[in-house]
Each structure stands twice: as structure tokens, then as C-alpha cells.
């Protein structure tokens, strides 16, 4: 397998007003480097505020990194011109934590999934409609949800819809920022299974961001642990869970419910 994403020394600095009224710099990402193999899953684990979402936004070109590079198949996506970047965007897609907010609340399922198809263009309206229904089926949404608004769907259905929408763009990389965290346990498992099944079928590469080390170990091939904007530990999923080296990782391991800590039975693999 070859490297699909290579992140080098990524730094993101936010200017923030402190309570005293002065400007204050905040290093959300402090020299992050890693690689992800094509078709694999990298889990990024860390406590709240460790910089995970910032990393996700930088990867998806939704935030501009202060310095460093992100290579996608040998192209530095931070350096390309805006026009070219827009053409590259579909390749890296993101799923957000709260599907209720990440779907346009005024659009029906049909419109939501049609939009990226319109963006890609080149096919007729009828063909689009057919593809939308195919995509809905693919993520396990019944056809009748096509006429529903996001507020009429359950949390799990909304996340499925968010997945269907990005699938329409045929992305190479899917960044999942706490994509399961807002869901109930049983729904989490269903969506996790769906994600693995889709990865098997389509060969997508996942960057799975979570504060739940158990879920990370369950889904990922490799894990990096972040703290204070840095990667403090990395390794194969089972190893990190079994023999955490850093204090922060041990804390994360301790937060994993005992039942799921071991044995690790990957589902659908």
C-alpha cells in the first residue's frame, strides 16, 4: 500500500483576545506530522481541546494552516490556488459530529444528496435522481426518506444521510470528526459497521477523530494520540490500547468501558 496523505510539521495558530483585552496566541496545532496509507484508517485520539477538530478542518482545507504541508498524492493542498483547490475539494470530505447542524435544515433529503451531484455535473436530472436513490440505499436509508427534512429524521438516519451526501462526491479521503459521538451506543455500532463496509467496498481512506480510544481501536489500523496540539504517541491500534506509554494515553484507556477494551473483535473485516 502506498501513502495517500502525508502531513508535515503542521502548525495552526489562533489569535485570541484574552480577558485582559490584549491579543494572545494559541497554538492549536504544534508541529503535527503523520502519514496515512491508502485504504487504511488512522484514528486521531485526544481529550477535548487537544486540537483534533483543528486538524480535521486543516485537512479538509476549511482552515488554513499557519505553516506546514499536507500532501495528497504528492500535491501540497495548502499551496494550490483557490480555483484548483475547489476542484480538489471533493477528494477530501468531512463528516461532522452533529449531523443535525451539518445538513441544510431547509432542504429535503433528495435535494441534499442531489446538490453534490449537480456540482459534479455531466448527468441528466433523471440520472441524478436514480443515483440519489442508489446512494440512499447504499447507506441503508429507506427510499421514502427522500421527501423528509433533516429535522424529521433520527440522529442515526441523519448521519447516514451525511454519509450518502459525501459518497456522491466519490471522495478518496473521509475525515470523521467525532462522527459517532453524538449517537446512541447501538446506533454508533450500526454506523461504525456501515463505515467499515463502505471502506471495504470503495477503498476510501479514513481519518477517524474521536475522544473514545475504545472506538478508535475498534475501527482503526493506526492510532495517534494528541495532547496540546502535538502528537504524543502513535502505534498500531491494539498496541496503543494494550501498552499505553504516555500518561495521557493511560487516562484515555481508563475511560474505555471494560467490556470493549478486550478482546478486540473487529466487525465485518
Amino acid at each position: 500500500m502506498q501513502t495517500l496523505i502525508k502531513v508535515e510539521n503542521l502548525v495552526k495558530r489562533y489569535a485570541r483576545r484574552n480577558p485582559a483585552g490584549g491579543q494572545e496566541e494559541l497554538l492549536a496545532l504544534d508541529g503535527v506530522s503523520f502519514e496515512v496509507l491508502a485504504g487504511s484508517t488512522l484514528a486521531v485520539v485526544g481529550e477535548s481541546g487537544s486540537g483534533k477538530s483543528t486538524l480535521a478542518l486543516c485537512l479538509a482545507c476549511l482552515e488554513e494552516a499557519t505553516s506546514g504541508s499536507i500532501w495528497l498524492e504528492g500535491k501540497d493542498i495548502c499551496k494550490v490556488a483557490e480555483k484548483e483547490r475547489r476542484e480538489m475539494r471533493p477528494q477530501i470530505q468531512m463528516i461532522f459530529q452533529d449531523p443535525a447542524n451539518s445538513l441544510n435544515p431547509r432542504w429535503r433529503t433528495l435535494e441534499i444528496v442531489t446538490e453534490p451531484l449537480v456540482l459534479r455535473g455531466g448527468i441528466s436530472r433523471d440520472e441524478m435522481k436514480k443515483q440519489v436513490y442508489a446512494l440512499l440505499g447504499r447507506v441503508g436509508l429507506p427510499a421514502e426518506t427522500a421527501k423528509r427534512l433533516p429535522c424529521e429524521l433520527s440522529g442515526g438516519q441523519r448521519q447516514r444521510l451525511a454519509i450518502a451526501r459525501v459518497l456522491a462526491l466519490e471522495p478518496k479521503v473521509l475525515i470523521l470528526d467525532e462522527a459517532l459521538s453524538a449517537l446512541d451506543c447501538s446506533v454508533q455500532a450500526q454506523i461504525a459497521n456501515l463505515l467499515m463496509e463502505l471502506q471495504g467496498a470503495l477503498g476510501m481512506t479514513y481519518v477517524f477523530i474521536t475522544h473514545d480510544l475504545g472506538m478508535a481501536a475498534h475501527l482503526a489500523d493506526e492510532i495517534v494520540v494528541m495532547n496540546g496540539g502535538r502528537i504524543v504517541e502513535r502505534g498500531r491500534a491494539e498496541e496503543v490500547l494494550r501498552e499505553p506509554r504516555e500518561e495521557i494515553t493511560r487516562r484515555l484507556v481508563a475511560a474505555v468501558p471494560r467490556l470493549t477494551r478486550s478482546p478486540l473483535a473487529p466487525i465485518g473485516r
Binding site: 471533493p90 451539518s102 429535503r108 429535522c151
Partner: protein, 325 residues
């Protein structure tokens, strides 16, 4: 749809009915009436005044007068003007048309400017252009409408760029159609400018705030991430998502612009409802006052009704909720 529509329509009629009763009550309770001055005039016999009062039913109980007013409303008269010695409705219609011309043009223009300006500003929150707009609107906000209108009048007199009163030039009737339109536009310019300038700052600020709030929403990020062009993002995604408070503001702005129009009309001698009503109030021309109030109410209610319909059309979530009921 039909139910929502009918319910709103019902509300609108109830409101107009209520206002007509209130207008009746207040104009009757206010001291004095049109014939008081006649009574003081020694050349007019008290019997004549009494006969006139009887002719206009001023000596009858309120309920009877209200009933006969409603009756004349149905016949398209809206009562009788003492001063003009003619039914009220035709008098009002001409002036109302002129006021509508002012208010509607100002509303369209104000929103036509406020929407792009607000979106443009929201896209640049905190940067220099946005701050310039914020300062500009803040400065406009603190100037009272009246001062603004007077300032513009002075400017027009000094420069002679615009006519400073009325609605048409003296020889308007002899102009060709194109010339007529040009003349009208020139006369409209000043009052419209005053109205737009007074309404604009509030509108721009609200549009900016509403759109800026939406721009940070995850679904906007998601759409941006798909590679959707900036302009589409702003006008097809952000603006509709920010529309609900703005549509309510639209309803409100019609009211503000209407009352603004009445004031500006008096200052700039625009032959609309404003000066007409003022005159009627001063001379206690009862039914003209009531008719004017009613006209304004109908206009306001229509504006709000339009806003409601717009809201219904713009937000499918309302449809789903009212459909379930």
C-alpha cells in the same frame, strides 16, 4: 397551505376590524369636532349647526354611527368629509396611491441595497470594509429622520439638482411619457433618498448579523468543503438560512417606512396621506382621519401578511409543522 393561509387572513381581518373600532372610539373621545368653530360663529344660526350635525349623524349614538359607517364602507365611500364635502374614499385613494408609490419604492430599494451590503459585510466580519460599514450605519442610525430629511432639502435647494417639493412639475400634463417618468423620478428622488437612508442602517445591520451567524454553521462548512463556489454559498445557502428573522424584519420595515413616509411627505410636501391626514386631524375631519388610519392599517397588515406568506414559502419546516396539525 390553505389552512395556514386562511388563518392568517382571518387574523388580518380581525386586526383591521379592531383598529376601525379603536379609531372610531378615539376620534369621538377626542375633544371638539368639526362644527365647534361654526357654533362660535355668530353669523351661523345654532339651528343650522344642529341640522348639519344631524345630517352627519353626529348626534346619534356611537354604535349607530359605526354601523352606518360600515354601511358606507361597503358602498365604497368610507363616510363623508366635512371639509371637502365629498365621500372620503376617492379623496383617500389618490393620496394613498402617492404614499404607496413612496413607501413601496423605498422598501424595494432599501432591501435591494441592504441584502448585498449586509452579505458583503458579513463575509468580511472584523475586517476593514466591514468596520467601515459598521461605522457608516452607526452614524446614520443616530441622525433623526427629520434632521436627515431637512438636511437633504437644504442640499437640494443649494445645489438645485432635485426639485424640492410636490410630485410633478407645473407643466407635467404636456410632457411626453418618457419625460413624465423622468419628472416623476426626479421628484421621487429626494423623499426616497431620505426614507432609504433612514431605514438602511437597521436593515444592513440585521442582514449582516443574521448571515454572519449562519456562515459559521457546520452545514456551511460542509458545503464549502464540497467545493461549492463562494457566491452560491452566500446567496443560495447562507441567505435563505438567515431568512426567517429577516422576513419578520421585512414586515416590520414596511411599517417603519410607512410612518417614515407620512413624516417625510409633510416635510417635503409630497401629496400623500401624510399632509392630508395632518390637515384632517387639525380640522377634526372625523371620517377622513378614520379612513386614513384604516388605510395605513390595511397597508401594514398586507405587508405582514406578505411576510407571513414569504416565511411559509421560504421555510419548509413551517410547512411540515402546520401540515401535521
Amino acid at each position: 397551505m390553505m389552512r395556514y393561509f386562511l388563518r392568517r387572513l382571518g387574523h388580518a381581518f380581525l386586526l383591521i376590524f379592531g383598529v376601525s373600532i379603536l379609531a372610531f372610539l378615539f376620534t369621538t373621545l377626542a375633544p371638539g369636532n368639526y362644527f365647534d368653530e361654526m357654533r362660535l360663529n355668530p353669523q351661523i344660526a345654532p339651528e343650522t349647526v344642529a341640522a348639519l350635525r344631524a345630517q352627519y349623524q353626529l348626534d346619534r349614538p356611537l354604535v349607530v354611527r359605526y354601523a352606518s359607517w360600515v354601511n358606507s364602507l361597503i358602498h365604497g365611500e368610507m363616510g363623508f368629509s366635512f371639509a371637502y364635502n365629498s365621500p372620503v374614499a376617492p379623496l383617500l385613494l389618490v393620496r394613498a396611491r402617492n404614499t404607496l408609490l413612496l413607501t413601496v419604492t423605498a422598501t424595494v430599494l432599501a432591501w435591494g441595497i441592504a441584502l448585498p451590503a449586509g452579505v458583503w459585510s458579513a463575509e468580511r466580519v472584523g475586517r476593514l470594509p466591514d468596520r467601515l460599514i459598521s461605522w457608516g450605519t452607526a452614524a446614520l442610525l443616530v441622525i433623526p429622520d427629520l434632521a436627515l430629511a431637512l438636511g437633504l432639502l437644504v442640499l437640494a435647494v443649494r445645489t438645485g439638482w432635485f426639485p424640492t417639493g410636490g410630485m410633478a412639475s407645473v407643466d407635467f400634463e404636456d410632457f411626453s411619457l418618457l419625460h413624465k417618468l423622468r419628472d416623476l423620478a426626479l421628484h421621487l428622488a429626494l423623499p426616497i433618498l431620505a426614507l432609504v437612508l433612514s431605514a438602511l442602517p437597521l436593515l444592513v445591520r440585521h442582514v449582516r448579523a443574521a448571515v454572519a451567524e449562519v456562515l459559521g454553521a457546520p452545514f456551511m462548512l460542509a458545503a464549502q468543503g464540497h467545493g461549492i463556489p463562494r457566491r452560491t454559498l452566500l446567496y443560495r445557502y447562507a441567505l435563505p438560512a438567515a431568512a426567517n428573522p429577516l422576513i419578520s424584519l421585512f414586515g416590520f420595515s414596511i411599517g417603519a417606512l410607512l410612518s417614515g413616509s407620512l413624516l417625510i411627505e409633510v416635510v417635503m410636501s409630497w401629496p400623500g396621506l401624510g399632509p392630508f391626514l395632518l390637515e384632517a386631524i387639525l380640522s377634526r375631519d372625523l371620517y377622513v382621519v378614520i379612513g386614513g388610519v384604516l388605510f395605513s392599517t390595511v397597508f401594514l397588515v398586507t405587508g405582514n401578511f406578505l411576510a407571513d406568506m414569504l416565511l411559509y414559502w421560504a421555510d419548509p419546516r413551517i410547512r411540515t409543522k402546520s401540515g401535521a396539525r
